[in-house]
Amino acid sequence: MKKLPLSQLDAFFAALAAGQELYIPAGDAGTAAFTPWREGLKLTPALNTSRSAKDLFFPQVENLVDFKVTGKQIEIIENRAPAKPFVIFGVRACDCRSFDILDKVFLADPADTYYKTRRENGTIVTLACTEPEETCFCTALGIDPANPAGDVSGWIAEDTLYLQANTGKGSALLETLPMLEEGEKPELDQPVFDRLPLKDLDWSAFGGERMMEHFNSPKWASLAESCLGCGSCTFVCPTCQCYDIKDFNTGSEIKRFRCWDSCMYSDFTLMSAGQPRPTQLERFRQRFMHKLVYYPSTHEGEFGCVGCGRCLQKCPISMNIVKVAGTLGKEETP
């Protein structure tokens, strides 16, 4: 394990950023974001970023390919920017787990090369949580916020940053940083995790086995009734990965790009022939069924949720996975 006095954090960032782009969570509570590090940029005082860390691997908008159309001819122009290595510092345990969940979608054969390239080029330095928010429930999903994964795990205790490489990529990164000293982090006693209001969430009622039962639950109607059909939950969610592929005509060429989409949107599944999810109820149900039932059904019981609590904080009408699971779960075990 390596360590670094926090007083040298700026120098540490500078060294990290010397060879590659470095992203650190910066900004005020509520608007913190992973931001390319520049001289003077400080770590956010907030626990977590407003948007999740998925953006760095699965950006909201990315160009896939260009086409040039002349008469009856089409030319395909692949001009992907060459992949550049980058480091993300300060990823929390929840967001770090989201990468595993996204990997199972994007890296399944045939792998999504845009995502894969970024994954290969990105080195993740996590940061253990010491001051969780009341909305945090990662512990209920088997994540240990005090011991996050990542290529390098990081802890801040007292005035010191401790770093532990977990992967070859991680070790290689730490190798390049001469200011790091050897050191062991002290054992931290963090009773706050036991006091989290949502720590006892029980999602054992969910998973693939009871798909039809959950799908047909009459509870959805009242859960979905006030949903505005916006995409804020999906866009701040670290595991939501629905996307759209669209063409943009610049006048001289066609840019085919991919952008985030939301299963909450009314036109998400709209076809000229009809709409399989005609009301917000079906769309709302899809999102939560996906996280609580469909994803676990096809991925060894793992939920499509990491307990980061962003949807709890961001939903305009305060409807979220905790309430949904609570309401549905209650019904199952009266």
Partner: protein
Amino acid sequence: MQERIKAKAIELLESGVCGRVLGWKTGEFFYDVTPAVFESREEIERDFVFGPFCGANLSKYLIAESRKGGKVGAFLKPCDTYSFQQLQKEHRILPENVYAVGVQCGGMCDIDAIRAAGIKGVLDVEEQGDSLLVHTLYGDKSLDRAAALSERCRVCKSKKILGCAELIGEQGEEQPSARFEQVAELEAMTPEERFAFWRGELSRCIRCNACRNVCPACSCEKCVFDNPSSGAENKAPANSFEENLFHIIRAFHVAGRCTDCGECSRVCPQHIPLHLLNRKFIKDINELYGPYQAGADMDAKPPLVNFQADDPEPSVVRERGTNP
């Protein structure tokens, strides 16, 4: 207040005046209140809340609720009633199917404002006169109630309840408000500063459409941004242009109709001060075409479908001077 409202809700249901009532439903925490439709005494007694975190403007829901058949009861705060009236003017809410009860409001708190004050792990809040005692995972903190108010309530423009069948609490009045101060501050900046300010704000936009979907004025059957044949269809901000485009056009489409209810800013997950765009239009309209408050008057013609022969020329914008 809460008890009076709950009693009224039950009365409306049991007297048969309404088949269902629209109100606010308790959540996991003290602050995560959800708009909800209540259909029974039991639901109301168990889940109905009214308190300092019932910020959601229920008028938007009345568009759909007033078309579902039967009469719906709705509890509306003063600023919600402006939207309520505006939507009736636009024939979006069918007033005959709504029984509106105005509830006076002392200003709504915003959990994000509490968090912005640096308070983490908020578990509960106690109102102690002008201050709030906040219980957190990390001990108790004290905060001025004013600091916990949402921005729109800090500059509350009116406590007047409009167009309701009855009131709970006192009828209020329009009141002087500092709501245009921030707009004026921006106007006083150089264009370069303004540009930098708005780039900083709008570049955070993730186009989640929360602002649009919560907005009572944005109730189009099909939004131009969702319509492939509109020429403006746009799902995600690919670059700064599209960020600007969405917010300019959205603000323009609600100009003269926006009641300044502030929901857009309240719900923005990225904390973009969207109200500053809408208020700019309101301020301009007030200054150029005379005071106009959307929703206040059922008969007044909205400023963008109206004109005066001696309206100022568009050149007033250029003539404001280059460096104020």
